[in-house]
């Protein structure tokens, strides 16, 4: 069975969602509370073989029970038995990968489809129906729980142990019963009888010693034995039908294995369970799995061309993201209940490969270079966090982690790809900021980015960060900057870079110490040349060096009051934490 389209209305955090599912492997990402788990839950409920669902008032969107919950899906690749006239043979529609759903079969590549809807209104009774594709007022037909079960949708959840035993509704039972419907219950009943019989042969006389004392007292109270009091085994408490027969590996039950192994085994059972193709739903697929097992799992779950399987999972792990190709990743975002699921375009494939964590944030600052991203990380930790703790009530979030912000540098060095990347992320629904040096040759342009909702932060004056800082740092700290550069790089190289810039203005022998540089006399020029040296010399062009720069800056930012550096960083601060 394949899911082609999903519509959810008024369910938990989702006011409305309409999603055409264009992949057989679906990796749902999105910040917390983006409703991605709700989407999986909705699917679980829509195809649940249970009579009842644990629905309460809080499952209605904004708890307005007057608005019924509606979950509807268009599905194809149906089990043959559901196509019969007495089931849904007269309720069929068609699905075309390019055209969507239609009521007439026109082309060879039109798949036979059904529209299934779950409605829950204020009486909390779930009603499952198959809807007509025709525009007439044809009454929908109920779909029974047995028929829903045939569609083979399985959610791998927390109660994996149930599926590892032959219990009433377990996947293992369904897999076994697929070929031989009648024998299981009688087998279990017989097993139960034999257990009881062999227990009956136990000598329980030790336990019966107390009975001698009880009998006379009971008689006084008016209780007489109809036969004779003795110790026996209560069949109600020795029931094998509730899952006591379970899957073993040698002498040990599988339920003793680690959570990861148990989840994997459950997925294997579900996958083999439905010959016409199962749909497996996994919330947080990375749970309990090491990266190597997680990668292996995803590769194994990925359907082949001839499979009719589909797999949908949510994740917060970048290992998962890396393992998927761009078109398998879907970003869920929800604004006031308006939920959208957007497929990541193939253009972002190299981001998927190299910066998977970008897709797992709420807000992203695309930094043109490594210096900037390091700087921000360090400022967050060393400066802003403390500042926000003191300024209680002013800031929504104390740290970037709390705000879900991730500074990310563009994958290609030189940063020319950064604006494109920013735009792509904005189109996926992320809140994006661009932090760069200048607006020269930005492609797409800064204006274009702004039109797409991206906040653009650039250093004043079209200069790189090193030069900006050299302009804005308090004078007595400039020497400290050089010292920092010496610590991060080779001392001689640093002074060689300085000499290169200054030698046209002062004589070379002055270009080897701070005092020598001051002799230039022109503070502004000094700052300009120093900045150029830092830039051309690439003193801080590495993330860790940028971090150190940030740490350095943290000490003086308070004193930089009105400078452009300060203003830019303040606006970034507002964007991140506000």
């Amino acid at each position: 069975m394949k899911l082609r389209k999903l519509i959810i209305q008024k369910f938990r955090g989702i006011d409305n969602l309409e999603w055409e599912i264009k992949s057989d492997l679906v990796c749902l990402v999105g910040p917390g509370d983006s409703t991605k788990s709700t989407i999986l839950l909705a699917l679980e409920y829509l195809f649940s073989p249970n009579w009842n669902l644990p629905i309460t008032d809080s499952d209605f969107h904004q708890m307005v029970v007057q608005n019924p919950i509606i979950i509807e899906a268009i599905i194809t690749e149906l089990p043959e038995s559901l196509l019969s006239e007495e089931k849904f043979g007269l309720y069929l529609g068609f699905w075309n990968n390019d055209g969507g759903s239609k009521k007439n079969q026109e082309n060879d590549d039109d798949h036979i489809a059904l529209k299934i809807r779950l409605t829950i209104d204020s009486d909390l009774e779930p009603v499952w129906e198959v809807m007509s594709f025709q525009e007439d007022e044809k009454e929908p037909r109920r779909i029974s729980s047995t028929d829903r079960q045939k569609l083979g949708v399985a959610k791998i959840g927390s109660y994996v142990d149930a599926d590892l035993a032959w219990g009433r509704n377990s996947a293992l039972s369904r897999l076994t019963q697929r070929d031989d419907l009648t024998k299981i219950p009688s087998l279990l009943a017989e097993a139960e009888r034999r257990v009881l019989n062999s227990l009956a042969e136990l000598d329980l006389s030790l336990l019966e010693m107390a009975i001698g004392d009880i009998v006379p007292v009971a008689q006084i109270m008016g209780i007489n034995a109809q036969d004779a009091f003795h110790a026996g085994i209560d069949p109600l408490r020795v029931s094998l039908r509730q899952g006591a027969i379970s899957l073993f590996d040698g002498q040990l039950p599988l339920s003793l294995r680690g959570a990861g192994s148990r989840r994997l085994m459950t997925m294997a059972i579900h996958k083999s369970g439905v010959k016409e193709g199962a749909v497996i739903l996994v919330d947080e697929i990375e749970n309990s799995l090491e990266p190597y097992r997680l990668r292996h799992l995803i590769r194994q779950l990925r359907p082949n061309d001839n499979d009719n399987h589909q797999v949908l999972f949510t994740t917060h792990s970048s290992v998962t993201v890396v393992e998927c190709i761009a078109s398998e990743i879907f970003v869920v975002n929800s604004q006031n209940g308006n939920t959208k699921v957007i497929q990541v375009s193939v253009d972002l494939q190299n981001i998927v490969r190299s910066i998977p964590e970008a897709f797992l944030c709420r807000k992203v600052i695309i930094c043109e270079g490594k210096t900037e991203s390091g700087l921000l990380l360090s400022l967050d930790q060393n400066f802003w966090q403390n500042k926000h703790e003191k300024e209680t009530g002013q800031w929504r979030y104390l740290t970037m982690a709390e705000a879900g912000v991730s500074p990310i540098e563009s994958p290609k060095s030189g940063g020319s790809e950064a604006p494109k990347f920013a735009l792509a992320m904005a189109k996926l629904g992320y809140e994006v900021a661009y932090f760069g040096d200048s607006d020269r040759d930005l492609n797409p342009s800064a204006d274009c980015m702004k039109e797409n909702g991206i906040d653009v932060f650039l250093w004043d004056g079209n200069v790189e960060i090193e030069r900006r800082l050299c302009f804005d740092l308090p004078q007595n700290e400039l020497e400290g900057l050089i010292t920092l550069a010496e610590n991060l790089n080779d001392r001689n190289k640093v002074w060689a870079d300085i000499k290169k810039q200054f030698s046209t203005h002062i004589s070379p022998e002055f270009c080897s110490s701070w005092e020598g540089l001051i002799s230039l006399g022109d503070e502004r020029k000094l700052r300009e040349l120093l900045g150029k040296a830092a830039d051309d010399g690439k003193w801080f062009k590495r993330r860790d060096k940028g971090e150190s720069l940030g740490t350095f800056l943290s000490g003086y930012l308070d004193m930089m009051g009105d400078s452009p550096t300060f203003r830019t960083l303040v606006s970034i601060e507002k964007w991140c934490y506000g």
Binding site: E86, G89, L90, K103
Partner: protein, 456 residues
């Protein structure tokens, strides 16, 4: 020695390619279908033409305790309508609830729908095989659809070309040129089971007559001792009917071709035999249409006279309404606009002159119509009449012990005694054959001469 019946059943069960069975009247066709379905695996679709046929098949299935999961019985028209109306945009069916002539739209719509590929998936998921009964009555369109079904399911068709009396409407299939080329014939069913326990000699003699008819030879009734012959006259019709009633027990069917002849004979019998109405009950529907118009004009006088006229058509009594005190109050109420009193009026009349009513069915349908109308579910009396008649169509007519009917209405039914009231007016051999095979105990034929030579 294996019975021809068992051979036929075996071929029906095991057929992978299309199969046809020719069965003479009363020779076990229905039994063969039921037996074959019981022995087949998977669900079988069993189609016939009339609701009466559906009822007969269902009751035979129940009698033999065939599990309901093994079969689905339906009329061809309503089964095709189910599909055509489920997919109106592909079948182009305009009317979801056809009435009267609309039914003709269903067949081209179904044919159009069945040309789509997905139907194969649906039909193969629903059934393992198809049986079509009374195939001789299939139109060319229905036949085309049956041929299409042959592409994905085993199809077996059963019928008797000698009973194809519905050939006056649309062109129907020719057994020789349309059916046999596609549907391989099994041996014919010729054992006269119907007469086995009551009058086996009659059965044999009827078999002989069949052969003569098939060969277009004249039939000399004198050669058949089990068949009674009387010279025809309007009077002898009445006399024979009275005689049979007086001397025989069981159900009796007097058979004409034309409706007016049937009503006339029944009237002459003063209520001893009931005349059967056509399925579409035209006289009632026309009257009811007029009543709707008069109702809009609030012309209750005209309504009363309309009802009286229709009632008089059903009764052999001349003066049902003159000087009837007990009806005065009711007619006053009707004059004041109370239509719900009509069923009561009819009941009163029936109580008074009941025995003289010879078209009970007509009166009953009128009563049902007004009862339906008083439930206020309908916007016109015509609609109420249609609904009442539809219910009869589906549930079947109330069985009467003695009827005067027409070949078109009694085909497929069985009685103890059959009286062919005027063989010369039976139009053709087929109607003749249908008429003479209705009675399992006795047969009486009235005609101008005992030497019958019906063309066609």
């Amino acid at each position: 020695m294996v019975d021809e019946f068992d051979i036929v059943v075996e071929q029906l069960v095991t057929a992978k390619s299309p199969v046809s069975v020719k069965a003479a009247a009363g020779c076990g066709k229905t039994e063969a279908i039921v037996r074959a379905v019981a022995l087949s695996t998977g669900k079988q679709l069993v189609l016939t033409h009339t609701n009466a046929g559906v009822a007969a098949l269902r009751s035979r299935f129940r009698k033999h305790h065939v599990p309901v999961s093994q079969y689905q019985v339906d009329t061809i028209a309503s089964w095709l309508l189910k599909y055509a109306s489920a997919y109106p945009s592909m079948s182009n069916l305009a009317v979801a609830k056809p009435q009267g002539n609309d039914w003709g739209e269903v067949y081209p719509a179904a044919q159009k729908l069945f040309s789509y590929a997905f139907l194969e998936n649906v039909l193969m998921a629903s059934y393992d095989g198809v049986y079509i009964d009374e195939y001789q009555d299939c139109t060319q369109l229905q036949h085309a659809i049956a041929l299409r079904l042959c592409n994905f399911l085993p199809v077996r068709v059963l019928g008797d070309p000698l009973q194809g009396i519905f050939d006056f409407c649309d062109p129907i299939v020719d057994w020789q040129t349309d059916v046999l080329p596609t549907f391989n014939p099994t041996p014919d069913l010729t054992q006269p089971y119907r007469w086995q326990n009551s009058n086996p000699e009659l059965g044999k003699q009827l078999g002989d007559i069949r052969t003569k008819l098939l060969n277009h030879e004249p039939v000399d009734i004198n050669l058949y001792p089990e068949i009674n012959w009387q010279p025809w006259s309007e009077n002898s019709e009445i006399e024979v009917c009275k005689y049979v009633k007086a001397h025989k027990r069981g159900t009796i069917a007097g058979i004409h071709y034309w409706p007016d002849d049937a009503h006339r004979t029944a009237k002459g019998l003063n209520g001893l035999y009931q005349s059967i109405e056509e399925m579409d009950c035209k006289e009632l529907m026309t009257t009811v249409r007029r009543i709707d118009e008069w109702l809009l004009q609030e012309n209750f006088t005209a309504i009363i006279s309309g009802i009286k006229n229709l009632t008089m058509k059903a009764c052999a009594e001349r003066s049902i309404f003159s000087d009837k005190e007990y009806l005065k109050k009711e007619f006053e109420q009707l004059q004041n606009g109370d239509l719900s009193i009509v069923p009561k009026i009819i009941d009163s009349i029936t109580n008074d002159i009941g025995k003289k009513v010879y078209r009970k069915e007509l009166l009953n349908e009128m009563k049902n119509t007004f009862q339906e109308f008083s439930t206020e579910k309908y916007s016109s009396i015509y609609e109420a009449a249609f609904a009442a008649r539809y219910r009869t169509r589906v549930n079947g007519r109330k069985p009467e012990n003695r009827i005067i009917s027409r070949t078109l209405l009694i085909k497929g039914l069985e009685f103890n005694h059959a009286i062919v009231l005027n063989a010369d007016k039976l139009q053709n051999q087929k109607n003749f054959y249908v008429a003479i095979t209705r009675g399992s105990e006795s047969l009486t034929i009235l005609s101008s001469s005992p030497l019958l030579n019906l063309d066609k």
